[in-house]
């Protein structure tokens, strides 16, 4: 996927294979299978190019990530522990209270003077 996103143009399995082979040993069938799976999952679209296919990512990396993060952040309030967030989404008033509390902890004298 890194290659496909970087090139930003339709690519043949062979082109992806050749680029990957610069880093490590990998078989044509492996790359072909993975790309076919990604196509089945809707992550890649493809068009015929002679006897082979050319694959293009359906969405950019940013769009994908944004979509995923939307779901992840929505689960922040979900308590079933699919994911465990470091801190949950909190609304503005509570955020203000949190900030005030931290200021007070850091510098109690300063805060008292300000009153």
């Amino acid at each position: 996927m890194d290659r496909l996103w970087a090139w930003d143009r339709p690519a043949l399995v062979r082109e992806v294979l050749e680029d990957l082979q610069r880093d490590r040993k990998i078989a044509y069938t492996t790359v072909m299978t993975v790309m076919e799976n990604l196509h089945r999952k809707g992550i890649l679209s493809r068009e015929r190019h002679g006897r082979a296919y050319r694959y293009t990512p359906e969405r950019t990396r940013e769009e994908h990530t944004a979509a995923m993060m939307e779901e992840v952040l929505a689960t922040s309030a979900d308590r079933s522990a699919t994911l465990m967030h470091f801190v949950q989404n909190i609304d503005r008033s509570e955020l203000a209270a949190l900030g005030a509390l931290l200021d007070e902890i850091r510098d109690p004298k300063k805060t008292k003077q300000g009153r």
Binding site: M1, I43, R61, E62, H64, T65, A66, M68, M69, V72, L73, A74, T75, S76, A77, R79, S80, A81, T82, L83, M84, H85, F86, V87, Q88, N89, I90, D91, R92, S93, E94, L95, A97, L98, G99, L101, L102, I105, R106
Partner: protein
């Protein structure tokens, strides 16, 4: 019928007064692990009481009560007498029905919760494989995104994930503290405890004690992870990271229930409470064990008292 009534009353008492008292107590924050155990004991006690109440109504019509009577060296009539309920067979059926319903509902919700979270995590992992890059030095997955987030995906092959916005919002020390916190969740398998309390609330939503338990358990697991992180990092650093990340996330509006927990955590990190003394810890543990075992005692008590009787009621055939 007495055991069933007593068990029912006990379940009600624990689910209302007991849960209310535990919820208001301050000590769980000083011993989060023990606090979680207390909530688990409370919940299991309530459920066990209901199930055992149902089963005890069925004892008088149980076909093996003769063997049980022989085992306890008492007579069947006396044993039955202890557990007899007006309505006999009907009461027994109702009892078995309730016991089966409660146990079945719990089993179903446990299974369903497990399935939902497992498939959710699996989907997360495959998307992360696609979208995130791994930072080998910090052993964390990084997503390119302009909203702050830091979370872990528990379960098989646990992963800690942060966004590039988080990297920018925190300095090295703060980030390290956050990562320690998340890894503590993974090491301690806290997700299991949360799944359990979540399944309980889903199974019996009309029992406030289970909803309270779910919220408290979540709060206490966060505090446990904070405690673990503080062993490697400064408490105030972690608190600052908490506030920075709480601010950086997309505003939740109605969803934001985390404010109270966040405030409690920051207070706790800033002024750590003295941990619970050894004696108090043991006393609490004893109470927790007692609460969990009372339902069993209430169920077998009448049978045991039948053992000690040295007479047998004689009924003449009419």
């Amino acid at each position: 019928m007495a055991p069933a009534l007593v068990l029912g009353a006990y379940a009600l008492l624990v689910a209302t007064v007991g849960a209310h008292v535990l919820r208001r107590s301050q000590w769980p924050e000083r011993a989060p692990r023990l606090g979680i155990l207390a909530w688990q004991a409370l919940s299991s006690s309530v459920l066990a009481s209901v199930v055992l109440a149902g089963l005890s109504l069925a004892l008088p019509v149980w076909s093996h009560d003769v063997q049980l009577a022989r085992l306890l060296d008492t007579c069947v009539a006396l044993l039955r007498d202890q557990y007899a309920a007006p309505g006999g067979a009907m009461a027994a059926s109702a009892g078995i029905g309730i016991a089966a319903l409660v146990a079945g509902r719990l089993a179903y919700c446990l299974g369903r919760t497990a399935w939902v979270v497992t498939s959710g995590r699996s989907a997360q992992r495959s998307r992360l494989a696609l979208l995130a890059r791994r930072d080998p030095e910090r052993d964390v997955l990084i997503l390119e995104h302009d909203a702050c987030a830091a979370y872990c995906v528990p379960g098989r092959g646990g992963r800690v994930v942060i966004t590039t916005a988080t990297l920018e919002a925190l300095d090295d020390a703060q980030l390290a503290a956050v990562l320690h916190h998340e890894r503590a969740h993974l090491r301690g398998r806290h997700h299991l405890v949360i799944q359990l309390s979540s399944a309980l609330r889903a199974a019996f939503p009309f029992v406030p004690a289970f909803a309270w338990g779910e919220a408290e358990v979540e709060r206490l697991t966060e505090m446990m992870a904070d405690d673990a992180a503080v062993q490697h990092a400064d408490g105030l650093t972690l608190a600052t990271a908490l506030v920075r990340l709480a601010g950086g996330a997309a505003p939740a509006g109605a969803l934001g229930a985390g404010g109270q927990t966040a405030l409690a955590r920051v207070r706790r990190l800033a002024t750590p409470a003295r941990p619970l003394g050894k004696i108090r810890r043991l006393a609490t543990l004893a109470c927790v064990a007692a609460v969990a075992l009372v339902p069993i005692a209430l169920t077998v008590g009448p049978a045991l008292s039948a053992m000690s009787a040295d007479y047998c009621p004689i009924t003449f055939p009419v």
